[in-house]
Amino acid sequence: MSYFSKAVRTFEGFAGAKVPQDPTNQAEFEALEPACDDRGYVWEGTAPTWAEVEAKMNELRAADEAAVATKRSAYEKLGLTEAEIAAIL
C-alpha cells in the first residue's frame, strides 16, 4: 500500500500532483507536477520537506500496523486459534 498520498494530504496546502511513482527522495518530491493544468503548483504555500513527508508516512504505517496488532491481541485473549485469527485478519 502507498502511504504517500495519505501523508501529503495531512499537510496544509496540498493541491494535487501527478505521481507516476511515489517519490523516494527530496529531488523526486520536488519534481512532482501539478495534477491539473488550471493551476501551476502542487502546494499552496510552503511545501513540507521530503523528510517530513517520509516521517508522516512511517507514522501512518506504524499506526496501521499497531491497529492490526491490537486486533490480534484481542482475538488471542478470546482464545481464538492462529488459523481463526488469520482468517479474520
Binding site: 502507498s2 494530504r9 493541491a15 505521481v19 495534477a35
Partner: protein
C-alpha cells in the same frame, strides 16, 4: 424502434430489377455526427477540498454543432479508493461559457484505501446544454470536499496486479435525431 417514412424511399423499377435507394431514408433517421474520445493515464492524487479540477481530459473538444446536436457522455476512471462513502464529481466544460455537470449519471463504489474502485458516468445532454465554441477544455472535477480517492489511474505502485498503467476514457457521442 426507428421507422423509415415511405416518402423517403426512392423506388426505381426502370430496369429489370426493382431497387430501393435508402440514402434519403437513413439520412432522416437519428445518426451519430461525431464520436469524440479522450484518454487520461497518469497516476494522479488531488486535494480534499471542494471545487477542485482533478485533471484535464482535453483542451481541444470541438463539438460540431452544440446548439443543435445532442450528446451521450460516457466516462470511466479507475481509482484507488479512499473510503469515501459518498462523492460529488462530474465534468466541467470550459469554452465560450462554463458548464458543470455534477453528479450526472455517476456510478461509484465505496472502497477502502488500497482497493480498486471506479469513478464513472453515463448520461445524456440535449441540444444547447454545452458551450458552442471550439477547443473547449474538459475537466474531471470534484465539487464537494472529501470526494477524492487516493489515486486516479493507479498503477503497479498501488498493487502488483496492475501490471499495466490503468487508463481513463471519456467518450462523447454527438448525434442528431
Amino acid at each position: 424502434m426507428a421507422k423509415i417514412k415511405v416518402d423517403d424511399l426512392i423506388y426505381d423499377n426502370s430496369g429489370t430489377d426493382v431497387t430501393l435507394d435508402l440514402t434519403t431514408a437513413f439520412d432522416n433517421l437519428g445518426k451519430a455526427i461525431k464520436i469524440h474520445h479522450f484518454e487520461y493515464n497518469t497516476r494522479t492524487g488531488t486535494a480534499a477540498s471542494a471545487d477542485v479540477n482533478h485533471f484535464t481530459w482535453t483542451t481541444e473538444f470541438s463539438p460540431v454543432d452544440a446548439a443543435n446536436n445532442s450528446f451521450v457522455i460516457t466516462a470511466s476512471v479507475p481509482a484507488n479508493g479512499k473510503s469515501q462513502d459518498w462523492t460529488g464529481y462530474g465534468l466541467r466544460f470550459y469554452g465560450n461559457t462554463t458548464k458543470d455537470f455534477v453528479s450526472y449519471g455517476n456510478f461509484y463504489a465505496d472502497q477502502y484505501s488500497g482497493y480498486m474502485t471506479t469513478y464513472g458516468m453515463h448520461y445524456h445532454l440535449g441540444a444547447g446544454a454545452l458551450p458552442t465554441s471550439s477547443n473547449q477544455t474538459i475537466y474531471f472535477r470534484q465539487y464537494t470536499a472529501n470526494s477524492e480517492p487516493d489515486w486516479f489511474c493507479p498503477n503497479s505502485s498501488d498493487n502488483s496486479r496492475l501490471s499495466a498503467q490503468t487508463r481513463a476514457f471519456l467518450t462523447i457521442t454527438e448525434y442528431k435525431n
